[in-house]
């Protein structure tokens, strides 16, 4: 048993099948456990990302009342737009899961089709958000107007940047599967991408609740 493996999985929880065969321990624990260890490492990254977002959420919650005489969330937010954005992101999260199944079972139509749908809905989300930001800046409610708007643009914009990076990663994964096929290492990258995409949707749930729904209903 290697030392790195012992730290990653001290109770050897990911080795239910592999531990029956002592020879496979030296080969890195087999496909199943490697998938689990990679997923675990990426999950820790995602949690650290969520902690970063929690700092932005805390900043927003502290500054939400400091509008400096400018518009508040109630004057600015268009809940219909937010509902469409939410629908786009939720559905793309679903199709991303379908793409993951397609990759694991090596079905081209499922993988490429579902990834394309995920991209289209993710891009629609970004387009709606850019449109919303441009509208706010045009009516004089840009990030420099008040502490509330600075915090709003930082929090929502940071999520938007994550989604944009996710879209680039999505295209990269499609290209890698196309060029290299469904290799185990590529499949692990697809797993990490789908974890990332689902985590972005979790952050959006907190975001539309705290920022938009509570802001519009004040």
């Amino acid at each position: 048993m290697s030392g790195a493996q012992a730290t990653a999985d001290p109770h050897r929880l990911g080795h239910g099948r592999a531990s029956r065969n002592p020879a496979s321990e030296h080969a890195g624990g087999g496909l199943l456990s490697k998938r689990i260890i990679v997923g675990y490492g990426f999950w820790i990254f995602l949690l650290s990302d969520i902690i970063m977002f929690s700092a932005f959420f805390a900043t927003y919650a502290v500054l939400v009342g400091n509008t400096a005489g400018g518009p508040s969330g109630k004057d600015l937010f268009d809940l219909r737009n937010v509902a469409i954005e939410t629908g786009c992101l939720l559905f793309s999260s679903f199709t991303c899961g379908i793409a993951g199944i397609g990759a694991q079972t090596r079905r081209d139509l499922w993988f490429y089709g579902a990834m394309t749908v995920t991209f289209v809905f993710g891009a629609a989300f970004i387009a709606l958000e850019i449109h919303e930001f441009a509208g706010l800046v045009a009516q004089g409610a840009g990030p420099t107007r008040s502490a509330f708007l600075s915090a709003f643009f930082t929090l929502v914009g940071c999520h938007g940047l994550h989604v944009s990076a996710g879209l680039l990663w999505l295209l990269t994964m499609m290209a890698q599967v196309f060029a290299k096929g469904y290799r185990p290492d590529i499949l692990r990258r697809v797993l990490c991408f789908s974890l990332f995409w689902h985590a972005l949707d979790i952050i959006w749930v907190g975001l539309f609740t705290v920022v938009y729904l509570m802001g519009a209903g004040q």
């Binding site: 999985d9 109770h11 929880l13 990911g14 239910g16 496979s24 080969a27 890195g28 087999g30 496909l31 199943l32 490697k34 998938r35 689990i36 997923g39 675990y40 999950w43 820790i44 949690l47 969520i50 902690i51 929690s54 700092a55 959420f57 805390a58 900043t59 919650a61 502290v62 809940l79 509902a83 939410t86 939720l90 559905f91 999260s93 679903f94 899961g97 379908i98 199944i101 694991q104 079972t105 090596r106 079905r107 469904y182 290799r183 185990p184 290492d185 974890l195 689902h198 985590a199 949707d201 979790i202 749930v205 907190g206 539309f208 609740t209 705290v210 729904l213 509570m214 519009a216 209903g217």
Partner: protein, 124 residues
């Protein structure tokens, strides 16, 4: 099953656990859609007592995050998942500390600070 053989079949055989996984995602999508619709409805309604709306929205959001974690991220109570659940618990602890701590401290500082008009007069 070694990682280094490119031809190794994945641990999920095609068509075997597959239908079940799609069902999981469909159930997750259904529940998440339902919770989202209820959230948007509650935010705009006048049917419930107004001060209870933020509490209801918070509960709905936490429920929806739970749905995402279980049905999309597959964080479950299985033996493969103990490490993931422990990491999640630690993450939730830190998130709660940051959010509640910031709000608590900043509310106190706000409360103890001199009103802005007086501060401006003192600086003259």
């Amino acid at each position: 099953m070694s990682d280094f053989e490119p031809g190794t079949p994945p641990d999920v055989a095609p068509g075997e656990e597959n239908a079940e996984s799609v069902t999981t995602y469909l159930v997750g999508l259904g529940l998440a859609t339902l919770l989202t619709i209820v959230s948007f409805f509650v935010a705009g309604t006048s049917l419930v007592w107004a001060p209870s709306i933020p509490v209801a929205l918070t509960v709905l959001a936490i429920a929806q995050m739970g749905v995402h974690l279980v049905f999309f991220l597959h964080i479950t109570t299985g033996p493969d998942n103990v490490n993931n659940v422990m990491a999640l618990a630690f993450g939730v602890l830190i998130v709660l500390l940051i959010m509640a701590g910031s709000l608590w401290i900043m509310a106190h500082m706000n409360h103890n600070m001199m009103p802005m008009e007086q501060m401006m007069q003192m600086q003259r």
